[in-house]
Amino acid sequence: MKSVPAIRVSGVTKRFGSLQALGGVDLEIQQGEFFGLLGHNGAGKTTLISSLAGLSRPDGGTLEIMGHDVQRDYRAARLALGVVPQELVFDPFFSVREMLRIQSGYFGIRNNDDWIDELLHHLDLTAKAEANMRMLSGGMKRRALVAQALVHRPPVIVLDEPTAGVDVGLRQGLWQFIRKLNQEGHTIVLTTHYLEEAETLCGRIAMLKAGKVVALDSTANLLQRFARRVLEVTLAAPLSLPPALAARVLKQDGLHFTFGFEAYDEVAGLLAALAAAGGHIHDMNLGKPDLEQVFMGVMNQN
């Protein structure tokens, strides 16, 4: 028997005045997935997350967390969900530990200090446990938000751009921890603007545009399907290309040409044609398909 999906979104619509923030979103994320939600600013990612978290009420459709409807069965749904908000919000009245104890209490948990200590350790915040939230740097506040979302050990964790403003070293540490949680069985949903992060971490990806899912597949399939292989060449001197070569130019910027091709076998032919036309290569680069190309391709297609 198939287990209950971690997240099920069916036909969700949401309108803010004349803006259609979500235009009928359907999405199913299985337990244990590391899932990426990508899209430009204003594509509806945060509205979708807010609807999952009960912070926003959709106009139509239903949302479930671990089989619990987020409106009708909100207590169970919220217990199963941990959200790291996008904005760097904090309560200036409390220390990190006080804040985590209070947050535990909101979720009905008393005496949570063992888990709080573990969270602080993994997020490199132990030294700041008694510091007031105001005294934390931006990166620390971000990690405190992660800790806050995890106080009740939710099976489903949503991170809305968790690495914005976190420096590289700490970002690595954060991902290591999130990966560990994923390996332990937590479902992770991530939105990010760092596409290379999504490419390395996420097993499956949905792309949102103007409130609609425009691509939904495993990361490998997306790369396979949408990404073009490219050969970037900088010539030593200007050259007028023969028509056969000119047809393959995707982009030209002065002496810098970008050629597209389907299979690596074609590269030798391309280079030979270039040499035959009298071109001298000053610099060359073979572009691997990456998620950024996929993303741009999907966004421009739809």
């Binding site: 807010s50 978290a53 009420r57 207590r75 919220r78 959200v83 409390f94 209070i102 948990i109």
Partner: protein, 251 residues
């Protein structure tokens, strides 16, 4: 229940951590009123027969402090949380809107009673009253605190800016409390304003509260508690409806 208890605890801890601003300042303000008006008016006016003006004034100031601080607590906590964005921390957990309401209103009452008690204790050396009916004192402070705490929840949720909240406080709460018979007996007013005062629920709160101290008042305490309770229940229902709808909190 744990969520509700934690929210109540957090709301009390919040004002307690800035006690200078939330408890001591209002006590000092009330005592300054007492010293100045007492000095000017003691021996000149006697709003209740046989009661010195300062003694008459103290219950009014205590109740005014209760009302203003009950309003200030829920409203300022909510607007701060909204503007800084940390309101999400209370909206994400499994806390029902009823628990949310109860926690904010009870914390308002807690701060209000603490401030009121502070004013009363500091004023004791300047005044004397028989504490005729302590039950009424308690009843009116609780219902009055709950009424204003509830109004504070509405104002805190409605206001998008501190400026709007300040307008609510300064153009509604302040005049209604100041003009409710804190400093005078409404029987000293011209008939028109005497009539108008009967439409001010704050008048009934102050008058009933004062009855508890002296066993004498402008209107019967039963009438006052009736008016105040009906107003509170109506306001509580309105606030709960707004919260249930997610008004301005869950877009």
């Amino acid at each position: 229940m744990e969520g509700f208890k934690t929210l109540l605890y957090k709301e009390c801890l919040r004002f307690w951590k800035v006690g200078f601003q939330t408890v001591l300042s209002p006590v000092l303000t009330a005592v300054l009123y007492l010293l100045i008006f007492g000095h000017v008016l003691d021996g000149h006016v006697e709003p209740l027969p046989g009661v010195a003006y300062t003694s008459f004034l103290v219950p009014g100031l205590v109740m005014m402090t209760i009302l203003q601080n009950a309003f200030a607590n829920s409203s300022s906590s909510l607007i701060q949380s909204k503007i800084t964005g940390n309101i999400v921390f209370v909206l994400l957990p499994p806390i029902s809107y009823r628990e949310f309401y109860a926690a904010y209103v009870l914390a308002s009452i807690a701060r209000a009673l603490l401030c009121g008690l502070g004013v009363l204790l500091v004023s004791l050396p300047f005044a004397s009253f028989p504490f005729a009916e302590p039950g009424w004192i308690l009843a009116f402070s609780l219902v009055g605190g709950a009424f204003l705490g509830s109004l504070g929840v509405i104002a805190g949720i409605w206001a998008d800016k501190f400026d709007q909240l300040a307008a609510f406080q300064n153009f509604l709460i302040m005049p209604l409390t100041m003009l409710s018979g804190v400093f005078y007996s409404i029987h000293s007013l011209p008939p028109f304003w005497l009539g108008v005062s009967h439409f001010n629920p704050f008048f009934f709160m102050i008058d009933g509260f004062r009855y508890g101290f002296f066993g004498a008042s402008d209107v019967s305490p039963w009438m006052s508690i009736g008016v105040v309770s009906v107003c509170f229940v109506a306001l509580a229902l309105l606030t709960l409806r707004l919260l249930a709808r997610g008004y301005k909190l869950r877009a």
